[in-house]
Point group: C2
Chain length 583, copies 2
């Protein structure tokens, strides 16, 4: 099978992240519409060939030369990995290659980075980091291994992609090197997990990693293999056979039962805008023409630009579904569709609505239906059900890693913080619950809360909430099997941050949201990144905590992004001028 058709890309005349008045970012695509990758499946091996179309950047203003990438390229990559998981259960190994002669991938496009706002750069890096973690997640949990077949220059983000694969093969042609030129050439970090993966995942000796990361031309041949930078070193003549052999060997090791296949349909997000209406107060950047609501089947995200707040609602399933049975009919079960919709909404929020400081998260629906869906999903032995569970887990992590204040709110009799939806309340920064007289409002637990939905730290959200107090986790789960937990009891059990009756609730919540929206977005991002991830650290938390935080700092520094900074001046005749103070 070979996807190849291309459709003309509609672009605006705006640079990425330079203006809120831009077209909405679409995170949906399909192999038939890829501009930058070719996906071919042959038996249990898939080939994802990077063939970046330099004339189709995410936004005009730069060319994607030498298989460099931007957000569009990475959106297609994320789509390809997702489709391999759901649509191609026969595939056991995906081979990353390139259709250029001497270049595998030259990394993130530097002109694009130089032209982007700080906020865009940070969110772009976060998205690419998540995509690379998903590749590792597929290898670890879905029996879908990956091989980076680097037949040429493998630089920066290109090498970071290779590091996220199970194995990396480099051509031994006396010329092709792997490299991290970011620090010496651009005065920034290899920010897509590279530094962490070098020393923590591949266990490259840290003094060698230091040499490697400051050697712009990179390291090739025997030294690259001796230092553990690549797994295989192969001549050009033996290349094709060696790639196939290595891919087959990786495929042969996979024992996870997958399938049946399920074709992921389009999400059909509706973006509605109250044209003619204007926010009552000026938002920081003027009266930009922005959309007011994203509507999906189960998810809605509505914005109040004047208050810099958003309201996210996730609706539960319409019935007690068996996801396998529903999928067999070609329909997306709720467990898949609702979380794909949530994922899409979170990404649009991050990229297209940077001025939204806080999101109130509500749920609606029938708790019994959620519990039934959770039970069926967790009882199922099918590969499809496992993929849905893993997707839900990834989306919940995307929620945790979204740099907006998140307040879960249960203030309606229709509220449905049950099972997998309860995870949203546990992942939020706070959980407000209304105490209603007839105790219709409450939370319910299910099998979904018992440990599978780990955060980046490896703890479940209940374990994170009651860090160091496992007895409290057990108490909640034991109580949960007895039935609904009304608001007041939820507060006593430590599930609600604040529970109040209807005399106080509305005012308290309104003031809390307005206060939060008035605080500095930067300080909140740093605070939330520190409080949300208690306990053990993992490769993942190191990437999002340590590495990304340093990169964010570096992106603000004049030495990289100032008028005379190395990133700004890349490709220009002027040499960068540095401020020499170490901090």
């Amino acid at each position: 099978m070979q996807y190849s058709a291309r459709k003309v890309c509609v672009t605006s005349n705006k640079l990425p992240g330079t203006d809120r008045r831009m077209d909405p970012t679409s995170f949906e695509t399909h192999p038939s519409r890829y501009h930058h990758w070719k996906l071919a499946v042959d038996g249990d091996i898939a080939r994802l060939t990077m063939a970046v179309d330099d004339a189709h950047p995410h936004k005009p203003g730069y060319e994607l030369k030498l298989n460099s990438y931007d957000l569009s390229v990475d959106i297609e990559l994320a789509d390809a990995i997702q489709r391999l998981r759901f649509e191609h259960p026969e595939v056991k190994c995906v081979v990353f290659g390139a259709d250029l002669d001497r270049v595998f991938c030259s990394g993130a496009n530097i002109y694009m980075l130089g032209l982007s706002t700080h906020s865009f750069k940070v969110n772009f890096c976060k998205f690419t980091n998540e995509t690379r973690l998903y590749l590792e997640d597929a290898a670890e949990h879905s029996g879908l291994a990956s091989l980076a077949a680097c037949k040429g220059t493998t630089a920066g983000g290109g090498y970071e992609l290779a590091l996220a694969c199970n194995e990396t093969m480099l051509v031994d042609d006396g010329n092709s090197a792997v490299s991290f030129p970011e620090t010496p050439l651009l005065a920034v970090l290899p920010g897509t997990g590279g530094l962490t993966r070098l020393v923590d995942k591949r266990k490259v000796r840290r003094d060698r990693a230091d040499v490697f990361c400051t050697t712009a031309e990179g390291i090739k041949g025997k030294r690259a293999k001796d230092w553990g930078l690549v797994d295989h070193l192969v001549s050009r003549t033996k290349w094709d056979a060696s790639v196939t052999d290595a891919a087959k060997a990786l495929a042969a090791k996979q024992t996870v039962v997958r399938g049946p296949a399920f074709a992921l349909p389009a999400l059909d997000a509706k973006i509605t805008s109250k044209s003619g209406e204007r926010p009552t107060r000026s938002i920081a950047e003027g009266d930009a023409e922005v959309s007011d609501k994203l509507t999906y089947k189960y998810v809605e995200l509505a914005f109040d630009h004047a208050l810099r707040t958003a309201a996210l609602t996730v609706r539960g399933p319409d019935a007690a579904e068996d996801p396998d049975a529903v999928a067999k009919t070609g329909t997306q079960p709720w467990a898949l569709r609702a979380f794909r919709e949530l994922d899409d909404a979170l990404l649009r929020l991050r990229f297209d609505y940077p001025e939204i400081n806080i999101v109130a998260v509500r749920t609606a629906g029938n708790p019994d239906h959620v519990k039934a869906c959770d039970k069926a999903l967790f009882d199922s032995q099918s590969g499809f059900a496992r993929e849905v569970r893993l997707l839900q887990r990834r989306v919940l992590k995307r929620f945790d890693n979204t740099a907006r204040s998140l307040y879960a709110v249960a203030d309606n009799a229709d509220s449905c913080f049950t099972g997998v939806l309860l995870e949203l309340a546990l992942g939020a920064d706070r959980f407000y619950m209304l105490i209603d007289k007839d105790e219709k409002i409450g939370v319910e637990t299910s099998v979904a809360n018992t440990g599978f939905f780990t955060t980046s730290s490896g703890l479940s959200r209940l374990e994170s909430r009651f860090y160091g107090e496992p007895g409290k986790v057990q108490k909640v789960l034991a109580r949960g099997v007895e039935g609904p937990i009304p608001s007041e009891e939820a507060e006593q059990l430590g599930l609600a941050t604040i529970a109040a009756d209807d005399i106080d609730f509305e005012d308290e919540l309104r003031i809390a949201i307005e206060e939060r929206a008035s605080l500095s977005p930067d300080a909140l991002t740093g605070m939330e990144a520190s409080l949300r991830f208690v306990g053990p650290e993992t490769l993942e938390t190191k990437i999002f905590g340590r590495l990304s935080a340093w990169q964010n700092w570096i992106f603000t520094r004049a030495n990289s992004t100032g008028a005379h900074g190395a990133l700004t001046l890349y490709g220009k005749p002027e040499r960068p001028q540095f401020q020499w103070k170490r901090t």
Copy 2:
């Protein structure tokens, strides 16, 4: 015993960190010269009373009102903790109090922060973080517990100090609160470990921590205790007795045998300057009148401002010393003196020489003497010897946490990377070794390399170097007991990054240092922070990695430090204006 005499402080007319042309920072003091603390020892209880003299800031330009602190206050605190460890082995609990009626400590002085350079702010936070970690280190390893007796407002860094104590007592007077007002009032983080200690050390529920960190007025009374923010809540009438009881109870739990006492003498650093001479090339900030060399008995740090490099040399002991026997004569043994000198040199480097990008680290001396000192120090069961070992460990961590590129160099027959001094080579970013024909140059291991000298991650430096390959650690240690390991073999064992003979060595090293000095200081700081700390994360690495990196980023953002930022405008009539983009 009560120290009280004060000496007039000599100050310059410069603000902290605003200019390189400033007086050298002295990290040495003595209780008889304290301006801001009163140290009193009574039996096994010491009282460290914060009595900040608002007229004696570190540099003029602000007043230290309401027991707020600056670098001077923290230098005295660090000195007091160090002296309690060495000079007062009878003390088993130190009580932190204040001599103000309604204020314990109002945190870092905000005007000082507002007036300081970014580089100074970051180094100030790092030093205060280290001091608070030393307090925890004393409690964990030296049998010196601590109690924060907060009889009044305990805000920001004041509460962070309390969090570093074993126990915290808050007065229940209907008014006194603990608080972190940094995020709501200043648009920055509580950056001295507070966020991490709240959720990871004290295990405050993360949603409650979120409420606490955004409530400027803080939390008092029963709620503070219920939420785990403080350990004891005591009325004013019962205050004195309760503090004494709690201190005695903490003291009674201490079982570590300490002593004998050793009075820490002054270090007598000499700062020499080649007056009249000028750098051959302009350094970034002009021809500032700066010192050229710090000279101690065993340590020398010489600067080449034109090249932005420094040469650090640590000399080994003059004889095989028994540290207990030497200390009995009132003389500092090498093991103590050399590391106190190194500590002082590292701090001066951080604060007074920000333009130095890379330090070449050399050792000199007789390896047999180092091995003998290491053996005697580790064989000793005395409390004094344990304190010396712990001090060496802290100084080596200060070395790891110093944001400068560190290249260890063994290029002289007198080189002495042996035992505890070998840790400097293992902690450095790279280790260059000259291969000499008669193999005089090499490294030697001792008991000091077998695990006691852990980095912040909890791994030894050999374990960090060979992360995930314990066999290589064992191989080095097994080979080490057989005798000196010459350069070429050290490279084969993975100890040297680069070993070269005298045809190549000098040029290779010179070029490597010049290249490093030419790279962006910011990118190098982020890169080194990512590569140096492989493996597990701890409270300590979370503070220096995650929390500090976010704070550094926030310190560069307009919302805190811009012309209309909250930190800049604190105490002024204007309200801060924020940029609302979340990143």
